[in-house]
């Protein structure tokens, strides 16, 4: 890895200036974020690392319009979203942001296709058009033809792929992934990271991954380190060689199939 100075990107997707987030816990005031300045350009693959309590998830929640900063300004696609209503934030989350969570967060009573279709439903996409978009999203993560299954019929890795398909289905500008491999074994984790990397390269979707695993961070172009609510480091990740094979498996994890999960 090599520390670099950020070059000016053609479009800044995320611009955060002086972001603070304070929580009250009884009589104590907890400063989760203490003035974050962060800019992420369109098409970047950014890993945010830091120890527990460093403010990673708080930062991701603010990025994803799930939470509001106590102070500072946040522009997403040039739009100041600090003071938007719940309804407006919901619209932005639906159209511009895709979420991937550590626990997949699929709804067990819905089948895979219905899970993936949820953002389309909330986005007002007509029913007639949803099926094609769902199929396309499932195919993009290698789960074509599995829409009729239910989450409990899939392995952890497959469930996370469904979550990625759900995040992708509205063709968002950015995917925010919070410890996406945290519940997976190393093979499935590798596969998920490869999937995200491939999507980033193929579609130019900006991806921000939160992790405390340095191997995961190895898939990113850029690594932001947080500590105690502040950015400690912001650096470009230098790959050993920019070939496809090293890009998708920089740490030489076992190849897919060597340790297949049982469905």
């Amino acid at each position: 890895m090599d520390r670099t100075v950020h070059e000016e990107q053609k479009l800044n997707l995320i611009e955060m200036k002086g972001i603070r987030r304070d929580y009250s816990c009884g009589s104590n005031l907890i400063n989760a974020l203490k003035g974050i300045d962060l800019t992420i350009a369109q098409g970047e693959f950014v890993a945010i690392m830091g120890p527990s309590g460093s403010g990673k998830s708080t930062l991701l929640n603010i990025m994803g319009c799930l939470d509001s900063p106590t102070a500072g300004t946040y522009h997403l696609k040039g739009k100041n979203i600090s003071n938007l209503s719940r309804k407006e934030k919901a619209l932005i989350r639906n159209k511009a942001i895709g979420f991937v969570f550590q626990a997949y967060n699929l709804l067990p009573e819905l089948n895979i296709a219905s899970n993936v279709a949820l953002p389309l439903k909330y986005g007002g996409v007509p029913k007639s058009k949803r099926q094609a978009l769902v199929n396309e999203a499932l195919a993009s993560v290698g789960l074509e033809g599995m829409g009729y299954r239910y989450p409990d019929q899939l392995s952890g890795g497959q469930q996370q792929r469904v979550a990625i398909a759900r995040a992708l289905v509205n063709k968002p500008d950015i995917i925010l992934a919070d410890e996406p491999t945290g519940n997976l074994d190393s093979v499935s984790g590798q596969s998920i990271m490869e999937e995200l990397r491939r999507l980033n390269l193929a579609t130019g979707t900006t991806i921000v991954v939160i992790t405390h695993d340095s191997r995961i961070a190895g898939y990113a172009d850029r690594l932001v380190r947080l500590a105690d609510g502040r950015i400690n480091d912001d650096m470009r990740v230098k790959k050993a060689s920019q070939t496809k094979s090293t890009l998708i498996n920089p740490f030489g994890w076992p190849e897919e199939g060597e340790n297949e999960e049982i469905l």
Partner: protein
């Protein structure tokens, strides 16, 4: 929503609808009575028998009554009222109630005291002809009105309904009037004729009680009859209860309030169950919000889910109330409820309204869930 909560909600609403329907149906019966009485009081046809001109001799067998009748002064018009007990009333094989059948004679005193609402009174021709016709009280009519009935079955034999008279407070008593001759004929079959004679009603047409008594006593003495056991009393009827509509209105209002209380308790429980289900689903709702559900989406979803449970529960409540109603009418006889299409419509409306109103608070709570907090902990 988890199946457990769906069941709990449906059962809660079913219970509320069931209780309310039972109370509502009783209220509906009560309301019908109020309406019929009001119609009776407002009608010009209402005829009140002058009790000053009527006397009754109580308790004797038929043969003795016939003898007494023959001894009465000529100006006294008498009528032997026979009363049958425990007669099963049904409509096309469907049991309605166990009612009282009164055999009515030529002066028809017991019918004429009540307002004719529909059709006609019995006539001497019916009595002379042993016709199988009947005049029913409004509480009996209430059981058959939705069936457009032209007849009811008494002990398995069809009797044409020729008239409906307004009922009184004593539901189930003296409900069906048939020609006394027809009743005798029936009683002869079962050999209980003498035991069922109830009273002789006398229309004395201005004659004094003392005069009737002396005439009767003299003739009876000549014939050697013992009439000491007889009592001559003013003929009583229930004009007071017929005219007193206020009590019925009060009873109806009490029933209505009771129904509201049952619903309020059910609604309170439903809100609690629905709120518990929302707390249990915070993560799911947080996720839905995270992926773009607006507050309106969440509210709509929760309302629809609760409404769905409410309608399911409502159907269950209606079915249970219908069964209990049928069993009640079959088993108790004297307590009859008019469960009909209005009851079913009221049940569905009640369930829908309960679901809609009780879902508001949980839905609003769900819409306010902070997605970041809901998704924070695994």
């Amino acid at each position: 929503m988890k199946r457990f909560y769906k069941w709990l909600l449906s059962i809660g609403i079913a219970f509320g609808v069931f209780c309310s329907l039972i109370v509502f149906t009783a209220g509906q019966t009560q309301w019908t009575m109020i309406r019929l009485k009001k119609e009776a009081l407002e009608s010009d046809k209402y005829k009140i028998i002058n009790t000053d001109n009527h006397l009754a001799i109580y308790g004797m067998g038929l043969d003795f009554a016939k003898q007494i009748q023959s001894l009465l002064p000529e100006k006294v018009v008498s009528d032997v009222m026979a009363k049958g007990f425990g007669v099963a009333v049904s409509y096309e094989g469907e049991p309605l109630m166990v009612g009282q059948v009164v055999g009515t004679g030529s002066n028809m005193a017991e019918i004429l005291e009540f307002q004719m609402i529909k059709g006609r009174y019995l006539s001497p021709r019916d009595i002379d002809g042993y016709e199988k016709v009947c005049v029913i009280k409004s509480n009996v009519y209430d059981l058959v009105r939705t069936r457009n009935a032209t007849h009811i079955d008494l002990n398995g034999e069809p009797y044409e309904i020729i008239g409906v008279i307004s009922g009184d407070e004593a539901i189930g008593e003296e409900d069906i009037f048939v020609p006394v001759t027809t009743l005798y004929k029936y009683i002869e079959k079962i050999d209980e004729r003498s035991g069922l004679i109830y009273k002789i009603v006398l229309d004395r047409k201005g004659l004094s009680e003392e005069y009737i008594w002396s005439e009767l006593g003299e003739k009876a003495g000549i014939k050697g009859m013992d009439i000491d056991r007889l009592k001559l009393l003013p003929y009583q009827y229930e004009e007071a209860s017929l005219l007193n509509g206020n009590n019925a209105v009060k009873e109806f209002l009490m029933i209505f309030l009771l129904s509201l209380m049952v619903l309020a308790v059910a609604a309170f429980n439903i809100i609690h169950i629905a709120t518990a289900s929302i707390i249990d689903r915070e993560r799911e709702i947080g996720l839905r919000t995270a992926i773009g559900a607006k507050p309106g989406h969440i509210i709509r979803q929760i309302v629809c889910e609760i409404l769905h449970c409410a309608l399911n529960g409502g159907m269950g409540g209606i079915a249970a109330a219908s069964i209990v109603n049928t069993l009640t009418n079959l088993g108790l006889g004297q307590f009859s409820l008019s469960f009909n299409a209005v009851s079913i419509a009221a049940g569905i409306l009640l369930a829908a309204m309960t679901g809609l109103i009780t879902s508001m608070l949980p839905a609003a709570r769900a819409a306010m869930i902070d997605p970041a907090a809901a998704l924070r902990e695994e």
